[in-house]
């Protein structure tokens, strides 16, 4: 009989936590595969203030020297795990699990209905931050620790006010140095919880008073901060970070407000019940129900009873109070569905595409860049620029004009990867310096800084970046290997990438801004006439800007590339040039294909037929001659 009860209890227990477990598993899968948290690690220059982390005492000492430093240190380390998306997703899911368990425990302590549903709201909001590609790592870690502390606090027995006072003081005292940003959440929720529990207003007011005074005292004694400085540290997000308009702020704010709001809701419900009971003339009864007075003599007995009752109560664990058979299955399905639903509701495909395109471009996965931009077309100069870069590497840049709002978008000097690819090393250095300021000391940026500095022969600076990288998780080995290579060969003559950059980088010093795109590409070609990328980019830029005389002029440099074949797109441009400028084909050493001439005539006829209406002609012929330069030249504004 006893065994049977235990089994039944165990089954109920597992059935209870199963829906939540499935919900968390769904969070893991979606974070890994749907959101792809590795993109947050990458950042793409659009996610500001990614936390840097360095192994060693210096970083630990620096982190711990400020309020909430422990949470900062742990959250910075946690964010490094996003380098491996599955691992990062797993750790974030574990963090959401802690949030769930703690939030659920608090909801139960507040006597609110459906603790599973309300408790699961917290990990869903947490999940929402990452679905929006937010990077509020420290704020979230602060809250996780505060919720865990609250969960533990609610476990303290109701009949031991001394113990609760001690717990309160200890929690508040620890939270300021460990997770200062969430101290307010802890204070408010603990005060509301105490108000409802049994201690009456004394403990609540005490909690609020302690919540204000303890940080002030600790801030002054431990960190030497003035009162207004202490108050500034109690905000979960720094103002300077808010100025950069970080993503995921709405779910982040909601997550911070969740428990205090629920606590207030519980208070309101109590007041309403009390009012109803009073109205029914049963004030005393209501009072005893809401605030049971526990005499010390009875407390031991009560605790024993509650322990015994605990087993029965725990059958409720994880239930939405759906007692019907199979209800837990429905709950499980619902938990998974809600998680996936949150993903689809909050997901920003446009932003994800931008991040993915930049990630693929930085990792030279060129076909993936084009696939991504084809699958999710985005109207963005960075994406267009990356697509053009990919088109060059796949040999398509000369066959199809990239879609650009402005011809100058072809060479976006803010893209350090593109600048390095072309040989604009100084532009890359400039862009990287600004990116480090904007996005934080991201390892990818530091690695590019190493490459760029080595290319310009700035070895001591490259060594500093490499030494910094030896303290960064997942990049230390690469940095150590590079340092060893540098020791063996300081000139790095055997390094293909460095040698390539040194050969093609600009040699003539010109100052700007502005740096006209055509001039920059010209500088590259002057430095290295065999820089095929610069050549194709310059030609494409001239096609995009319809500067055909310059295009025809530069086409002569095709002899610098033995075996180079002029593409049909370029032949079309030459034909337009020949017709427009009345330059005989022979003079520009071109022999035009009759099909080409015929195509031009067809497009011109359509243009005439549409009364020189470029837009109408474009709409009419776009599907048939999408890759034709004739059409672009006539119809593109």
């Amino acid at each position: 009989m006893f065994r049977c009860d235990r089994n039944a209890h165990a089954h109920a227990h597992w059935r209870g936590i199963f829906p939540s477990a499935v919900g968390l598993a769904a969070i893991f899968v979606v974070l890994w595969q749907g959101v792809d948290v590795g993109l947050i690690y990458h950042g793409g220059g659009v996610i500001p203030d990614f936390p840097a982390f360095y192994w060693g005492l210096d970083f630990a000492r620096e982190s711990l020297a400020r309020p909430g430093g422990a949470a900062y240190y742990v959250s910075s380390l946690l964010m490094q795990s996003l380098f491996l998306p599955w691992f990062g997703a797993l750790l974030l899911t574990l963090q959401s699990g802690i949030i769930y368990v703690s939030a659920r425990r608090c909801v139960k302590a507040l006597d609110l209905p459906a603790p599973d549903v309300l408790g699961f709201t917290a990990p869903l909001l947490f999940f929402g931050i990452y679905v929006r590609y937010g990077c509020e790592a420290q704020g979230v870690m602060d809250l996780t620790l505060a919720l865990a502390a609250l969960g533990l606090f609610t476990l303290l027995p109701a009949d031991r006010p001394g113990l609760r006072w001690a717990g309160l003081v200890l929690g508040l005292a620890l939270l300021y140095p460990v997770a200062a940003g969430a101290e307010a959440v802890f204070t408010l929720t603990a005060a509301l919880f105490e108000w409802r529990r049994s201690g009456g207003w004394r403990m609540s007011v005490g909690a609020l008073a302690l919540g204000v005074t303890l940080p002030l005292v600790e801030g002054w004694l431990i960190f030497g901060l003035a009162p207004e400085e202490v108050l500034a540290t109690l905000w979960p997000v720094a103002q300077v970070h808010l100025m950069k308009q970080p993503r995921g702020l709405v779910p982040f704010g909601a997550l911070y407000c969740l428990l205090p709001t629920l606590g207030l809701g519980a208070l309101a419900r109590d007041a309403w019940r009390k009012w109803r009971a009073r109205k029914a003339g049963a004030d005393t009864e209501a009072e005893s129900v809401l605030r049971p007075e526990i005499k010390p003599a009875e407390s031991k007995k009560l605790r024993r009873e509650s322990r015994e009752a605990g087993k029965t109560q725990s059958e409720d664990v994880g239930c939405f109070d759906w007692a019907w058979r199979g209800g837990w299955i429905a709950k499980t399905v619902l938990a998974g569905a809600i998680t996936v639903g949150v993903y689809f509701a909050a997901h920003d495909q446009h932003f994800k595409t931008l991040l993915a395109v930049d990630y693929y471009a930085c990792h030279e996965m060129w076909s993936k860049v084009l696939e991504e931009t084809a699958r999710h077309p985005v109207h963005d100069p960075f994406a267009a620029c990356a697509a053009a870069q990919a088109a060059f590497h796949l040999g398509r840049l000369t066959r199809q004009l990239p879609e650009m709002d402005s011809p100058d978008d072809l060479l976006c000097v803010n893209m350090s990867g593109l600048c390095l690819d072309l040989g604009l090393v100084n532009m890359a250095l400039h862009s990287l310096a600004d990116n480090v300021e904007l996005s934080g000391e991201r390892p990818l940026l530091l690695r590019q800084l190493v490459t760029a500095n080595l290319a310009v022969g700035n070895l001591p600076t490259a060594r500093i970046y490499l030494n910094a990288l030896t303290k960064v998780p997942f990049h230390a080995q690469w940095a150590r290997d590079y340092l060893r290579r540098l020791e063996a060969d300081p000139s790095l003559r055997t390094d293909k990438e460095i040698t390539r950059l040194r050969n093609i980088m600009v040699k003539r010093d010109v100052v700007g801004p502005p740096f006209p795109t055509d001039d920059l590409l010209g500088l590259l070609l002057n430095a290295c006439p065999q820089n095929r990328m610069a050549f194709e980019y310059r030609m494409t830029h001239r096609l995009l800007s319809k500067n055909l005389p310059a295009f025809a002029q530069t086409l002569k440099r095709v002899q610098d590339f033995p075996g180079y074949e002029v593409s049909p797109l370029w032949e079309e441009a030459l034909l337009v040039f020949s017709r427009e400028q009345r330059v005989p084909a022979l003079e520009i050493k071109a022999r035009f294909n009759p099909d080409l001439v015929q195509r031009l005539d067809q497009i011109l006829q359509a243009y005439e037929a549409n009364g020189h209406d470029a837009k109408a002609t474009w709409n009419q012929l776009r599907s048939k001659y999408a890759n034709s330069y004739f059409l672009y030249y006539l119809c593109h504004p």
């Binding site: 103002q239 300077v240 310096a433 600004d434 480090v436 600076t461 500093i464 600009v506 010093d509 100052v511």
Partner: protein, 520 residues
Amino acid sequence: MPIVISYIICAIPKLARSSRRNITLWRIARLALLIAAAAATTASVVSGADEAPLDAPAPRIQPDYSDLIIPPNIAPLNFQIREPGSAYRVRLEADAGRPVEVTSSTPIIQFPGKAWSQLLASNAGHSLRLDIWIKGADARWKRFQTITNRIAAETIDPVLIYRKIHPAHSTWSTMGLYQRQLQTFEETSILDNQRFNGGCCHCHTLRNNDPNTATIAIRSLIFSNQLLVINNGTVETILGTVSFPAWHPKAPIVASEFSKPHLLLHTARLNDMRDIIESESWLGYFHLDSGAVKRIPAADNSKLAGSPAWSADGTYLYYCCAPSPLAVATNTIEDAYPQIKYDLMRIAYDVAKDRWGTPELVLSAHTLGLSIALPRLSPDGRWLFFCGTAYGCWPTYDPDSDLYEIDLHRGGNGAEFAWRKVEISSPECESWLSWSSNSRWVVFSTKRMSPLFSRPHLAYVGADGRCGKPFVLPQRDPTYYDSQLLTYTMPTLATGPMRVSQAALVRAMKNEHHRELQLP
């Protein structure tokens, strides 16, 4: 000798087993022998050292703390030994006081602060000898040449104030003003820009090295550009944009440059692609009580004037001045920037009558062959250090910027002053020099350790103006600079710590009741 003792130690257990009568006695004997062995080993190291050949190699240490003149109140010069070995032993000794010995299994040598300070304090004006032994793969200790540094008799100002920032180009999200106790490694933040929404704090100036009479210039999109004026524990702000403010040494008057700087980027300059050129620049001064700016008759409108610095007695304002090629409408910045070369000028000032004299040429750019920037006068009024740069007035980004010296007691009265390049210069950029209040020490920013990151270096200045070998500001971890991604700018020596709290500075900045600079 140690081998013999070790043999005896090994033999003791056998003897103990054989007698079994007085184990405790044997144990005591063994302990005593162990101590003797350790002492003998130490002695052998030292005696081995004494027997080391005179042509022993010089040890490679980083940072290079050899052949220096150091202040008697400097923090331990911890270093890393760049020689292979399995154990390292360092002995630091001077004529008086107890030697300091450090043994380490790693090449990182860190001296105990208290013993270091005592040794330096009791040997001011004398030599400090550093001996290094390294245990090689053959388990033998090898001694290197003794490094001898000299402890100066004169102390350096106890606090160094500097700005730490990423080598940023157009944004500044991580930046702060810090102060460092030079006798220890304690660094505290004076003003962190995270506290005022990521603005820029730049150009801090102290009056007579006093940190509690100082100005800090602020650039902020939110709180506007302003000058924080710290005066004996109170902070006031004056709205307006000033550059290179300079306090009069005896009156609450600030001279400043009012300019329009342009950030230029080079496509092919290797070490630092940045450059700053001023298209417009004039000198003004204002009384801190009124904020009404008056123009200093330092140069006419066709010229650029900047980098003001008062003489120690406040009777002269030194500044840099150049004809502006941009005054010619057809010239562009790109064509004009290499032609902008500043002369060093000075103009007399009578503080009582608020009257200016006529500008005098101190040293022309033509004579020097370089543009002159950032003049800095020693508090004793004898020396003037400045930066010589290829063009312009922003040596921070010029890899060729070097430090030069003028002896103000030689020259003048219509003749140009005698000048020379100071030996503390390096092939990389030097800039932002600051004097100690006793005129015996200077600190300056230099990129000699890396062409991108500035590090503060200290150097002794002798009575004859000759400088000692400069050395980098010591850190607890001697490898600190190897991976430090922030650059140090504007190091300034101070006679004590800045007492004003960060909160007070931020409060003043956010206060809406500002006075405004009234430009002429």
